[in-house]
C-alpha cells in the first residue's frame, strides 16, 4: 500500500493529467460533479455524493452518434466515433463503492451483445480509481446490495483520512497507473486504512436503511408486485420529472434525436427518463399512459425485471441520490418498505 499527503494531491492530479484525461469530483457553482481536471479547479473528494454519478463519463447525457452533411441533394454520413476524444485513455478518480458497482450494472447492458461501441470505447480506455467511504449518511444503503463501502473495487482503490490518501492497485491497468505516479508516494498506511474501515463499518451498520429486506423482490413475485394496489398511493405525489433517473448511477435509458445544424443534421442520443410522459412514445400513443404506470416501471425495473435477466443482480446500488434529490421525497426505499413485506417495518 502507498500513501500520499493530502496537500500533495494536486501534484498527483497534475502528474496523471500529463499523460491522460483526469475526471474527478469538482465543485462548480456550489455543486460537485465529475469534471475534467485542470489546474485551479476545486476538487472535492470529501463529497460523499456527487449530484450526477460518474456514469456520465461512459454514457454521457448527450452524445453525438453520427452526422449527416447535406449539400444540395447529396447527403454524406460521417462516423463521429473516428474523432472521439474519449478514445484517448483517461482516469476516473474518486469513484465510490456504490458508483463503481453501478458501472458493473451498466456494463451488463451496454457491453452485452450487441455491444454499444460508443460506451465500449470509453469504458476500455478508462482506469478507475475508487475511493472508500468514511462518512456515510442516512440515505446510504449500499450494504443492502452487498457492497462494502469501505473496500471498493476498481483498478486502484484509495482511502482518504485527515492526512493522507492511501493507494492500492488492484489490476494491471491500476499497476501501470501506479507506475506512472509512484514517485509521489511513500509506502505504508495499512493500519490506518484498517482502522478507518473498522469505524466506518460500525456507522454503516447503524444507518437507518442498513437492514432493508429485499427478499420479496424476486422474479416469481413479479405479477403480485406488479398488481400491488399500493402503487397508486405511492406514486400520487410524483411530478413526473426526471430527477431520480438522471441522478441515478444505473439508469440507462436513452432517446435518439436529430439536431439540425447549419449544414446538415447531427444524430445524437440523450438520457431519457421512464418518468416522462413521452417515454417510449409510439405512433399509437404511449403504452404507459398514467404516472402510476411510469413510476411502477422504474422500480419494477430496478428490483425485478433487471435482476430476473441478470442473475439476480439488482439495478439499484443504494447510493441514495434519489432519496436526497426527489423534489417530493419519493424514492426507492419507500417502495421497498411498502412492498417488501413486514421485515421492513
Amino acid at each position: 500500500m502507498l500513501k500520499i499527503a493530502k496537500e500533495r494531491l494536486n501534484d498527483l492530479y497534475a502528474k496523471i493529467a500529463q499523460t491522460q484525461g483526469l475526471f474527478l469530483p469538482v465543485k462548480k457553482a456550489g455543486e460537485v460533479n465529475y469534471c475534467v481536471w485542470s489546474e485551479g479547479k476545486e476538487v472535492s473528494l470529501e463529497t460523499l455524493k456527487t449530484v450526477k454519478s460518474p456514469k456520465n463519463m461512459f454514457f454521457p447525457q448527450t452524445e453525438n452518434m453520427m452526422k449527416f452533411k447535406t449539400e444540395g441533394k447529396n447527403i454524406e454520413v460521417i462516423d463521429v466515433r473516428e474523432s472521439f476524444d474519449e478514445r484517448k485513455p483517461f482516469v476516473l478518480f474518486g469513484v465510490k463503492a456504490c458508483d463503481y458497482k453501478a458501472i458493473e450494472v451498466l456494463d451488463k447492458v451496454f457491453l452485452a451483445d450487441p455491444v454499444d461501441t460508443y460506451y465500449q470505447n470509453r469504458r476500455e480506455n478508462t482506469t478507475i480509481v475508487t475511493l472508500a467511504c468514511s462518512k456515510p449518511e442516512e440515505s446510504c444503503f449500499c450494504g443492502v446490495f452487498g457492497i462494502d463501502a469501505t473496500a471498493p473495487q476498481g483498478d486502484v482503490t484509495t482511502w482518504l483520512d485527515e492526512n493522507y490518501l492511501y493507494w492500492q492497485a488492484n489490476t494491471e491497468k491500476g499497476e501501470s497507473l501506479t507506475a506512472q505516479v509512484e514517485e509521489l508516494f511513500e509506502k505504508g498506511g495499512e493500519e490506518e486504512v484498517a482502522a478507518q474501515q473498522e469505524t466506518t463499518k460500525v456507522v454503516l451498520e447503524s444507518l437507518p436503511y442498513a437492514n432493508l429486506d429485499l427478499s420479496r423482490f424476486q422474479p416469481e413475485n413479479l405479477n403480485e408486485l406488479f398488481d400491488a394496489p399500493e402503487w397508486e398511493k405511492m406514486s400520487e405525489a410524483c411530478l413526473g420529472c426526471g430527477t431520480c433517473t438522471f441522478v441515478c448511477p444505473t439508469c440507462q435509458c436513452f432517446d435518439i434525436r436529430d439536431f439540425k445544424t447549419r449544414d446538415g443534421v447531427i444524430r445524437y442520443r440523450c438520457w431519457d427518463s421512464c418518468m416522462y410522459a413521452d417515454f417510449t412514445l409510439m405512433a399509437h400513443g404511449n403504452s404507459r399512459n398514467s404516472q402510476m404506470q411510469r413510476f411502477r416501471q422504474r422500480f419494477m425495473h430496478k428490483l425485478v425485471y433487471y435482476p430476473s435477466q441478470n442473475d439476480g443482480m439488482y439495478s439499484c446500488v443504494g447510493c441514495g441520490r434519489c432519496v436526497n434529490k426527489c423534489p417530493q421525497r419519493l424514492n426507492i426505499v419507500k417502495v421497498i418498505k411498502t412492498l417488501g413485506g413486514k421485515n421492513n417495518d
Partner: protein, 663 residues
C-alpha cells in the same frame, strides 16, 4: 414527397441587372425537393404565367416558389395562376428578390448570393405549407343600426335605399336624437327640425326600415354576416299599434310635474307624453316613475279617455331576437356633467345654462316658445356671456382631454342669432382658441364678430358669482393683460361632449374596442375610419369621436356604403390564414382570448381520450375563422404552443429562420 417548382423572374432588367437569375435558377435545381427550376423575363406576364401553369401540370408540382418582386405586388397574381393549374393557391410562396435584393444591392455576386438564400428560404417555407381553403359563411341581408339620431337615420336610409332591411334600435321613445333638440344649424342657419324631421318621416315610411324605439340591445352573438341580436323592448304601457298620437291623454293626465328631458329639463311634461310634436313614432309613452296608476294603482284617467284603447298598464318588457349581417353603432353623445366645475356656478345659478339648454330656450317649440327669456325670472337677458371650452381640453382630470370640436361653431351661431334677434343685447364670448376648420366655417365666425359685433375675449373665466342678482363673470383678457369682470344676465357654458354612456355596454356586447375616453376605436385612424376592428361592426357619429352634423352624416353614409358592400355578398370568403388551436394541447387558460382584438376566441368543453380507455373533459379554445383576422397575437400568448397560425405557422417561420442562418 414534395415536388417543388422554382420560377425566377428577371423583371426585365430590374432583377437581372444585379442578380444572376440563371445562376439562381440553376442553383435551385440542387435543392432537396426541387424538381423544376426555370427563369423567365417577366414571370407575371401572360407567357410567364403560362410557363408556371405548364410546369405545374407537367411536373406534377406540389408547391411553387416564385422569385420575383414583392409579394405585396404579385402574390395574388401567382396564387391565381397556381389555382388555374389545379394547385392550391396557398401552396405558393414568393421570394422577394427585387425590392429586397436587386434594387438595393449593387454588387452582382453579393446580390446573387442573397437571392439564392431568399429563394431557399421560400422553399423551406413552402415545403411546410398546407393547402388552405378559404371558408365561406352566409350573409344575412339585414342590418342593425344602434341609435336613432341623425347618424343612425342617415345610415338606415342609405342602407334601406339600396334594398336591404334595416332595423333602428333607439333607447328613447322617439328617433331624432340630439339634432332634434337643436334650434338652428351652422353654418347655414337652417332650422334643425326642418331638415331632420323629413328624414325621420322617411324612415318611418320606408318599407325596408323597422324602427324599434324605447328598445335596447341586450345581447349579441355571432360574427360578421351572421349576428344574432337580442333586443329588449321596454314597456311603454301604450300599444304602439293603436295609439294615434292625439295627445288627449297628455291633457288629461293629472301628474304633470315630470321634467321634460327633451327640453333639457327646463319645463315639465305629463306622466304620459309624446317627447315632441314631430316624434317618430308619434306614440305616447308612460313614465312609470311618475304615473300615479303605475305607482299606486289608482287613477287610470288616460285609459278612460283614450279613444282607441291603447293604454295598457300591464305591459311588460318584451324581447325580440333578430339576425343581422352588419351592425352600425351610432349611439351619439351627451354634454358632460358639470358638477366638477363649480367655478362657473352652474348648479347654483339658474341663469347659468349650457349651450344645449340655450338651444331649447331659443327654439320655437321650447319652454319659452322661442322667446329668449332667462330661466330665473323670465326676463330678457341684456348681457349674455358665453364661456367656451368648459371641460374640453382639460387634462386636470375634471373634464375631457380632447377638443369637443363643435363648440366654437355653435357658440358663434348662438351669439349671432341673439344679436340678430335682440340687437340691444350685449354678447361676450370668452375663448381660448377659436377653431373653425371647415367649409364656410371661419367666414361664419367672422360674421359674428364683424357683422354682429359679438365681443370675443381671449381668455378664460376664473369664476362666476352672484352679486345682488347679477352674474359676475370674472376672467382674463389676455390680449390686454387685464382681469375683467362682466356683469351678465345670462351665462352660457359650452360644455364638453362625451359619448353616450350606454356605449360601454354596447361595445362590450360587440367586443368592439373602446378608448380611454369611451369613444369607440376605429379599425384604422386614416384608412378604415368607419369600421370597428370587429368585423361587421361600423361606427357612425360621435360614438367614434367628436364631430358636427355634416361630418356625422358623411360618416353615416360611409358606414352605409360599407354595410351595403357587405350585404350584397351572398357569402363571405374568409381569410384562410387564421389561428387554429390544437385542442389536444390546449389548456383552456384563456390567455389567447385576452389578447384577441376581434373576440374570435371562445371556449368549449371537449372530451378527450387519455389512454387506458378513460376520457376527460377539458376546456379548450375555439377560433371562429370568420372573425379571426390572422394577426397571430394569440399564438405567442399560448404557452403550450397549441395555438398556431395557418400560412404563418411556427414551424414555417422557424424553417425560414433556419434557412436564412444556413451556411
Amino acid at each position: 414527397m414534395q415536388r417543388i417548382g422554382v420560377f425566377i423572374c428577371w423583371c426585365g432588367s430590374n432583377i437581372s441587372a444585379t442578380v444572376d437569375v440563371v445562376k439562381v435558377a440553376e442553383a435551385m435545381k440542387n435543392e432537396p425537393g426541387v424538381v423544376y427550376s426555370a427563369n423567365y423575363q417577366y414571370m407575371c406576364s401572360e407567357n410567364g404565367q403560362q410557363l408556371i401553369k405548364q410546369a405545374i401540370k407537367e411536373h406534377n408540382l406540389t408547391g411553387i416558389v416564385v422569385g420575383a418582386c414583392s409579394p405585396r405586388m404579385h402574390e395574388a397574381t401567382f396564387r391565381k395562376t397556381a389555382e388555374a393549374a389545379g394547385l392550391n393557391p396557398y401552396m405558393v410562396e414568393i421570394a422577394n428578390i427585387r425590392e429586397h435584393c436587386s434594387w438595393i444591392h449593387k454588387d452582382m455576386d453579393e446580390a446573387t448570393e442573397k437571392a439564392i438564400i431568399l429563394v431557399r428560404t421560400a422553399i423551406a417555407k413552402v415545403k411546410l405549407n398546407a393547402p388552405l381553403m378559404a371558408g365561406e359563411s352566409p350573409v344575412i341581408k339585414r342590418a342593425l343600426v344602434i341609435g336613432g339620431g341623425i347618424a343612425g337615420i342617415q345610415a338606415a336610409l342609405d342602407i334601406a335605399d339600396a334594398g336591404f332591411e334595416v332595423d333602428i334600435v333607439e333607447k328613447n321613445a322617439t328617433i331624432g336624437g340630439r339634432m332634434a333638440q337643436l334650434d338652428k344649424t351652422f353654418p347655414t342657419l337652417d332650422c334643425s327640425a326642418c331638415i331632420l324631421t323629413p328624414k325621420m318621416v322617411d324612415c318611418a315610411q320606408h318599407e325596408k326600415i323597422d324602427i324599434l324605439t324605447y328598445s335596447e340591445v341586450e345581447d349579441v352573438k355571432g360574427f360578421v354576416g351572421n349576428f344574432s341580436v337580442k333586443i329588449r323592448r321596454k314597456a311603454r304601457y301604450v300599444d304602439e299599434s293603436k295609439c294615434t298620437g292625439c295627445k288627449v291623454c297628455m291633457e288629461k293626465c293629472p301628474s304633470k310635474k315630470g321634467l321634460n328631458a327633451f327640453n333639457m329639463n327646463l319645463n315639465t311634461r305629463p306622466a304620459i307624453y309624446i317627447p315632441f310634436a314631430q316624434a317618430i313614432p308619434n306614440v305616447a309613452v308612460i313614465d312609470p316613475e311618475q304615473c300615479i296608476k303605475l305607482k299606486t294603482g289608482k287613477c287610470g284617467i288616460c285609459q278612460k279617455f283614450c279613444g282607441v284603447g291603447a293604454i295598457d298598464y300591464e305591459q311588460k318588457d318584451t324581447f325580440v331576437e333578430r339576425q343581422y349581417g352588419a351592425i352600425v353603432v351610432a349611439t351619439g353623445y351627451k354634454p358632460i356633467d358639470l358638477d366638477a366645475f363649480n367655478e362657473y356656478g352652474y348648479n347654483d345659478n339658474k341663469d347659468v345654462v349650457t349651450s344645449l339648454e340655450l338651444e331649447r330656450l331659443m327654439n320655437a317649440a321650447g319652454p319659452t316658445n322661442g322667446v329668449l327669456l332667462r330661466p330665473s325670472d323670465g326676463k330678457h337677458p341684456k348681457v349674455i356671456t358665453f364661456i367656451q371650452c368648459v371641460g374640453s381640453r382639460d387634462s386636470s382630470g375634471c373634464g375631457k382631454p380632447y377638443c369637443s370640436k363643435i363648440c366654437c361653431m355653435y357658440t358663434a351661431k348662438h351669439a349671432m342669432l341673439i344679436r340678430e334677434k335682440y340687437p340691444d343685447t350685449e354678447v361676450h364670448v370668452f375663448y381660448i382658441d377659436v377653431r373653425t376648420p371647415g367649409k364656410n366655417y371661419d367666414e361664419f365666425f367672422r360674421r359674428a364678430v364683424e357683422q354682429y359685433g359679438v365681443d370675443y375675449i381671449k381668455g378664460m373665466v376664473g369664476k362666476v358669482y352672484n352679486e345682488n342678482g347679477k352674474l359676475m363673470v370674472q376672467g382674463s383678457n389676455l390680449i390686454d393683460n387685464e382681469q375683467v369682470t362682466i356683469e351678465s344676465d345670462l351665462v352660457v357654458l359650452a360644455a364638453a361632449i362625451e359619448p353616450e354612456p350606454s356605449v360601454r355596454k354596447v361595445a362590450t356586447l360587440l367586443t368592439a374596442s373602446i378608448d380611454t375616453n369611451n369613444f369607440l376605436t376605429e379599425s384604422h385612424a386614416k384608412l378604415r375610419p368607419v369600421e370597428s376592428p370587429t368585423a361587421g361592426v361600423y361606427l357612425a357619429g360621435v360614438c367614434q369621436g367628436p364631430k358636427d352634423i355634416p361630418e356625422t352624416v358623411s360618416q353615416a353614409s360611409a358606414c352605409a356604403a360599407k354595410v351595403i358592400g357587405l350585404l350584397v355578398k351572398d357569402k363571405l370568403k374568409t381569410n384562410p390564414c387564421v389561428a387554429t388551436p390544437d385542442e389536444s394541447m390546449c389548456n383552456g387558460c384563456s390567455q389567447c382570448a385576452n389578447v384577441c382584438a376581434y373576440g374570435a376566441i371562445t371556449y368549449v368543453d371537449k372530451e378527450f381520450r387519455i389512454g387506458g380507455g378513460k376520457t376527460e373533459v377539458r376546456r379548450v379554445a375555439s377560433v371562429n375563422p370568420a372573425v379571426c383576422q390572422g394577426c397571430g397575437a394569440c399564438t405567442v400568448t399560448c404557452p403550450s404552443g397549441a395555438m398556431d397560425l395557418k400560412g404563418f405557422s411556427s414551424k414555417q417561420i422557424m424553417s425560414e429562420v433556419e434557412a436564412i442562418c444556413k451556411k
